[in-house]
């Protein structure tokens, strides 16, 4: 019970923060963390298969792709700005 | 030689699949396919013949490794819990006798888990280590770790630097 309440609070907080932050990188890392919390929520809902997909795709692959995207954006910014 | 390597690695990978599925038999089709792919990858990335793996060496290494990582954890834990943070960190170069290849990869990963050392960079024939207490006996620890890993893999260390 305690775990579930903490989990929901953390999930909502990371979701809002990752969308609201002006810092792109911070948003991406918070998104990865959000993926982990989401996987834990699925576990608590007894949906182990969805949790597995969320852990693999949300926390792992999407995180890597978004980090890659941040890298590209930064390289582009540095080449256009003086 | 190559057949022997294929056989050994195949058996290992099949055992790994068995472990992952906890002995179920209904998924062996997928298991065989992934084991063959993994075998191909391992033959390309680590061609057979470069190392002579020794089981006795592995046992010695494991005991050493577990012992050392316990020491590492307790030591860092004590440092973190001290009321006044009393650490003297710094980066030191240490020469390296391990030849390029798997041995080095294992050495770096081991040193990262040993007490007080963290590899920050790897050059042609030395390592840069970050330590929590500069001026300790880091060089000796690296020597010991090198020796254990070389024994396990049947590698010859380069001459004294």
């Amino acid at each position: 019970m305690t775990l579930d309440l903490l989990l929901v609070a953390a999930l909502l907080w990371t979701a809002v923060q990752s969308l609201a932050t002006p810092n792109l990188f911070r948003g991406v890392v918070l998104f990865i963390v959000f993926g982990l919390f989401m996987a834990l929520v699925w576990v608590r809902l007894h949906a182990a298969d969805i949790a597995l997909a969320e852990a693999a795709i949300g926390a792992g692959l999407t995180g890597a792709l978004l980090l890659n995207g941040v890298g590209h954006l930064r390289a582009k910014q540095q080449s256009t700005l003086p | 030689m190559i057949l022997r390597a294929i056989l050994w690695r195949g058996v290992l990978l099949a055992a790994l699949w068995c472990l992952l599925t906890e002995g179920r038999v209904d998924s062996w089709g997928l298991g065989v396919a992934s084991a063959v792919l993994a075998l191909a990858a391992s033959l390309i990335l680590l061609p057979p013949g470069s190392i002579r793996f020794s089981l006795a060496g592995l046992a010695v290494f494991l005991v050493y490794f577990i012992n050392q990582s316990l020491r590492a954890g307790v030591r860092v834990a004590l440092l973190a819990l001290r009321p006044r943070l009393n650490i003297h960190p710094g980066i030191e170069p240490v020469s390296l006798r391990m030849p390029v290849g798997v041995g080095r990869v294992i050495l770096v990963n081991t040193l990262n888990l040993l007490p007080g050392t963290l590899v920050v960079d790897l050059a042609a024939n030395h390592l840069y280590l970050h330590t929590l207490d500069i001026g300790g006996s880091i060089e000796e620890e690296v020597r010991v770790a090198e020796l254990r890993i070389a024994k396990m893999l049947g590698l010859d260390l380069d001459d004294e630097p």
């Binding site: - | 860092v76 973190a80 710094g90 980066i91 990963n109 790897l122 970050h130």
Partner: protein, 106 residues
């Protein structure tokens, strides 16, 4: 409580304690390099003790071996990932924190 259960419970508690210390280290240590010491060493030990505690209660040998496999993979994974990050930090020229700086500048 039987002896294996007691043993398992104490391993689990030790594991949790190591995790706590790892988090404390993460918050207290002064720079990236020292924080990484806390992460790689203490946390892996915490996971190791947790696994040990659960292995004692595992239903069969295969399940127990699988738990150990998880620990080994996590060990390898964190050692590799941390090495990549720390090498990049060194590459970028982030200077390590020195004890003297603190004495000059309280």
């Amino acid at each position: 409580m039987s002896i294996p259960e007691l043993l398992s419970a104490s391993f689990l508690l030790i594991g949790a304690a190591f995790f706590l210390v790892g988090t404390i280290g993460l918050l207290r240590f002064p720079d990236v390099y020292t924080r990484l010491h806390a992460l790689t060493k203490v946390d892996n030990l915490g996971l190791g003790f947790t696994v040990l505690g659960l292995v004692i209660q595992a239903p069969d040998a295969l399940a127990a071996l699988k738990l150990v496999l998880v620990w080994l993979l996590a060990l390898l994974a964190s050692a590799t990932g941390n090495f990549l990050i720390i090498r990049r930090a060194f590459d970028k020229g982030i200077a390590p924190w020195m004890a003297q700086e603190r004495e000059n500048d309280p």
